[in-house]
């Protein structure tokens, strides 16, 4: 694997974000809002909130493999082992009085002044935030979005738009300030630019060889998630895009000797991100694109029409859609990235991000004539993931695709 030089800039960008969050919590430089990843961040930024993302917090625990210490604590509270392991890691860490943000001086996640959710992704986020609302006596507000949408209709957009508008007054009250239109426009512009640039970065992987993989993307999408609405996000993606374009021009491969190209649907297995990335590289297989990374590339935000465009973007998101548009989306991606196969991660504790459960892999194979593989695993709970089984499944899939190509398989010859 070839490491991206932009990783240093990424670290600096994320570091600055976590430091500002710590400042807000510890030195009260700004009110703190917790927000779901697809929540109305632009509004929060425009009101001057420092924004913490519990999903990002949980992913950090997944990647650091500390989640396994925290999960049992939440399960003991009565949360099922079958529900979102982001939720159970995060609440477990809270109960343990720990946080991966310790390096920034935070013993726990930054204390919130308000919790803001959007159920366009799942119901779990609401339950998750309401737990904290009860625990910390903090207001919880949110958007109750429809899910499993076929085509996004004007009435869906109307409904979400009205809900977004109705968040303004309570959030202004918590922030102690009035919403300034110019600030909202600026946050919208920053979000839109970041989303477009991020989308363009991901699109470079349509080149052969691909300059980045899903595994790189899972790390480099950090700013697109946590710095939405801030100018730091587009700034970072300009740096990354320049490097990726350079790579494409010089034919620098993220996976040296790229032979096979795959698409990944579903969540990352955070605790095995590096192991999987190394394994695929060993098989000269580039996982060039994913639904997950592309989910933060919603580029249609319109500063001139903030509420409606945020509503539309949040409804159009892959995760909020029904099987048919999801299938069409994957078909488009398969074609655009010109992949040899699709891996579906069946994430045990997140049915919302697992597209295996209603026959999608079979339909994709049938419709596109492209082989698919279902991998059992989980986003944060490594007890649901078997290293050996994953390896055999992936290696077997690679063998199958290689043989189907009639390529002489050098794999295995030592």
């Amino acid at each position: 694997m070839t490491e991206l030089a932009s990783t240093n800039a990424l670290r600096a960008t994320m570091d600055a974000y976590y430091r500002s969050l710590a400042d807000a919590a510890l030195r009260k430089t700004a009110p703190v809002a917790w927000c779901t990843s697809a929540g109305p961040v632009e509004l929060l930024r425009a009101l001057g909130f420092a924004v913490h993302f519990p999903e990002n917090h949980a992913a950090m625990m997944g990647a650091a493999r500390t989640a396994s210490r925290y999960l049992p604590l939440a399960h003991a509270q009565g949360y099922s082992q079958d529900i979102c392991s982001y939720l159970t890691s995060d609440i477990g860490a809270y109960l343990a009085g720990e946080s991966p943000l310790k390096a920034y001086g935070l013993e726990r996640a930054p204390a919130p002044d308000v919790l803001v959710f959007n159920t366009n992704q799942c119901r779990d986020v609401r339950d998750w935030f309401e737990w904290y609302g009860r625990e910390l006596h903090v207001p919880v507000v949110g958007v109750h979005s429809p899910r499993s949408i076929d085509d996004v209709t004007e009435s869906d957009i109307d409904s979400v738009t009205r809900q977004l508008e109705s968040l303004v007054a309570p959030l202004e009250q918590v922030a102690g300030t009035r919403l300034d239109d110019a600030r909202l426009m600026a946050a919208m512009r920053a979000s839109r630019d970041a989303a477009r640039l991020w989308g363009t970065c991901l699109g470079t992987a349509s080149a052969r060889p691909a300059p980045l993989t899903f595994f790189d993307g899972s790390i480099h999408m950090g700013p697109a998630v946590v710095l939405r609405g801030s100018d730091d996000a587009p700034a970072y993606y300009r740096t990354l895009l320049a490097e990726l374009e350079q790579r494409v021009e010089n034919r620098v491969a993220a996976v040296p000797g790229e032979t096979l190209r795959l698409y990944w649907d579903g969540m990352p297995v955070w605790g095995r991100l590096r192991a999987l990335s190394t394994m695929f590289a060993e098989f000269h297989t580039a996982v060039v694109a994913s639904t997950y990374c592309n989910s933060w590339a919603f580029a249609d935000l319109d500063p001139a029409e903030p509420w409606r465009s945020v509503a539309r973007a949040s409804l159009e998101l892959f995760i909020a859609r029904s099987e048919a548009p999801k299938e069409r989306y994957i078909a488009r991606m398969v074609k655009f990235y010109d992949v040899d196969g699709v891996i579906f991660h069946d994430c045990r504790t997140c049915p919302n991000n697992s597209n295996t459960r209603y026959g999608m892999p079979g339909r994709i194979t049938e419709r596109l004539g492209i082989p698919t593989l279902v991998l059992d695993g989980d986003v944060n709970d490594l007890r649901c993931f078997s290293d050996e089984q994953a390896r055999t499944n992936i290696e077997g899939f690679v063998e199958q695709l290689t043989d189907a190509r009639g390529a002489t398989s050098a794999r295995g010859s030592r």
């Binding site: 194979t365 082989p371 698919t372 279902v374 059992d376 649901c384 993931f385 078997s386 050996e388 089984q389 055999t392 499944n393 290696e395 077997g396 899939f397 063998e399 199958q400 043989d403 189907a404 002489t408 295995g412 010859s413 030592r414």
Partner: protein, 270 residues
């Protein structure tokens, strides 16, 4: 004549096979894997060699497969068991085929096209249901040796069902049935039915079906039940337990042949 070998390092047993250049099996061996997979592989390989009347010096290449395929120091190459089981079966049976392999700790369904190329595979989830471990647990509960389970099942007269796939739950369910006076033979058969129910739900099983693996080799009832569930003929290829090791030996042979042709191709370049 050239000779090749394959070692299938499974989680429960290690199998080895020695073949000639036409793919004829000259000798096989099965041994417990235990904790030292490399030692088990050595043992199985040595026994297969002895059974084939060959020595290690006669062997062109040894390839490995199975759970421990990457831990065998003397292997010249490796392929997954998904590949080797398919390869082994395709040597004997014309495709298209569905290969069902039931091993000690996993179950697989592999689809092969007419040319014997793999179209897809499914493996059981991280769970003992549908695998040999399930039968071991059941034998333990019934207080019999696993080797007696098939014969016991043959004596079944009443059709009982275990409703749970879960090995632990099925175990407790079994205890309840024992307490209610059910006959061990009927319970053994219920366990087989439960195992097969799990397997046949892994994929659509139509067309020609081949069954392999240790469970298939020692429990013919499983083959019959799969046949009944799919309403079709289920073929068991020769040496079903060692089919993976045989497939690995075929992979060794194929790799050497490929190598030979490319060498020759290089030589004849103008």
């Amino acid at each position: 004549m050239k000779f090749y070998a394959g070692v299938d390092s499974g989680s429960w047993t290690t199998k080895a096979a020695v073949i000639d250049e036409e793919g004829h099996v000259l000798g096989t061996a099965v041994t417990r894997s235990g904790a030292d997979l490399a030692a088990a592989a050595e043992r199985a390989y040595a026994t297969a060699l002895a059974n084939s009347g060959r020595t290690g010096d006669d062997i062109e290449a040894v390839w490995s497969t199975g759970f421990g395929r990457n831990t065998i120091p003397f292997a010249d190459g490796s392929r997954t068991e998904l590949d080797c089981h398919g390869r082994g079966v395709a040597y004997y049976l014309k495709g298209p085929l569905v290969v069902i392999d039931v091993g000690g700790q996993d179950a697989k369904v592999i689809r092969l096209d007419a040319a014997g190329h793999r179209l897809s595979h499914r493996m059981n989830r991280k769970c003992a249901a549908g695998t040999g471990s399930f039968l071991d647990e059941i034998s333990l509960r019934l207080g019999i040796d696993i080797g007696e389970l098939n014969a016991l099942g043959r004596g079944a007269t009443e059709s009982l069902e275990l409703s749970s796939f879960c090995t632990v739950f099925a175990g407790t369910e079994l205890l309840t049935l024992i307490r209610s006076g059910k006959r061990p033979a009927d319970l053994a058969m219920a366990a087989y039915r439960s195992l097969v129910k799990r397997i046949v739900s892994m994929d659509v099983l139509e067309g020609r079906i081949a069954a392999t693996g240790g469970v298939v080799a020692y429990h013919p009832i499983v083959v019959e039940l799969i046949g009944a569930a799919c309403r079709g003929e289920v073929v068991v290829p020769p040496h079903p337990q060692e089919i993976g090791a045989f497939g690995a030996a075929l992979a060794a042979l194929a790799a050497c042949e490929e190598h030979d042709t490319s060498d020759t191709a290089e030589l004849v370049q103008p």
